[in-house]
């Protein structure tokens, strides 16, 4: 296996998952580098998180989702090198 992240493997992609607010507390990290199969969606990542963290079990539907800082549907297909963020209910102001 190559360790050069700029080289995309034939079978998968690398995505950076950013974690904020309550999700950072639950997961215990600011970000994670994910290796995913081609065709993986944002929702696939969310369902993985739910399986890993019991406190997310009740959240069958992903929160608002952003890829490369643009809001998208959670059904959006991820591309190699994307920056993915789940946006818990916002409370600015």
């Amino acid at each position: 296996m190559t360790s050069d992240p700029s080289i995309q493997s034939a079978t998968g992609i690398s995505v950076k998952l950013l974690l904020f607010a309550v999700l950072r507390d639950i997961v215990g990290a600011d970000e994670r580098d994910l290796d995913l199969p081609n065709g993986a969606t944002a929702d696939d990542v969310w369902q993985d998180l739910r399986r890993q963290h019991a406190s997310l079990e009740g959240y069958a539907t992903a929160p608002m989702t952003a890829i490369n800082m643009q809001y998208v549907k959670s059904s959006a297909v991820l591309q190699h090198g994307d920056e993915l963020a789940f946006i818990p209910p916002v409370s600015g102001g």
Binding site: A21, A66, M69, A85, P88, V90, S91, G92, G93
Partner: protein
């Protein structure tokens, strides 16, 4: 670099002076302030977290949308992140226009849109612990 985010106390006068033009007859400023209670419980302070580059871009998008909707209105926004004490300003919006009506309307619309879609979150410190606002356990 953030144009619309800061970690420091907000100076509302400075924000207003930055947008005021000699053609303006109305200046409306809205400040969001950390209060000592929320939904029946006491609040000691709030820590604001943000997805900084996206929050900055989303605020810029809100300003552009509102300035387009209200031609002639000019808008400035600054949102503070980090630990903010009761009584301190968390967000300030300044809207200027030739006449007051558009300035009032625009200012209301800016804060409403910010609360809907800008990726900023608040964690309240209460006597019973810390709570992320809006997250149901």
């Amino acid at each position: 670099m953030s144009r619309h985010l800061t970690d420091d106390p907000i100076d509302v006068g400075e924000l207003a002076r930055a947008v005021l033009r000699s053609s303006d007859g109305g200046l409306v400023v809205f400040s969001g302030v950390v209060r000592d209670h929320h939904e029946g419980h006491a609040v000691e302070s709030i820590t604001y977290d943000g997805y900084r580059p996206m929050a900055d871009a989303e605020i810029a998008g809100v300003i552009e949308a509102v300035e387009t909707r209200y031609p002639g209105v000019r808008v400035a926004v600054i949102h503070r992140l980090g630990l903010i004490s009761v009584g301190e300003i968390s967000v300030a919006i300044a809207c200027v226009a030739a006449h007051r009506a558009e300035a009032f309307d625009a200012c209301r619309e800016v804060i409403d849109r910010i609360k809907e879609r800008v990726p900023i979150w608040k964690k309240e410190k209460t006597p019973d612990g810390e709570i992320w606002v809006g997250w149901q356990k």
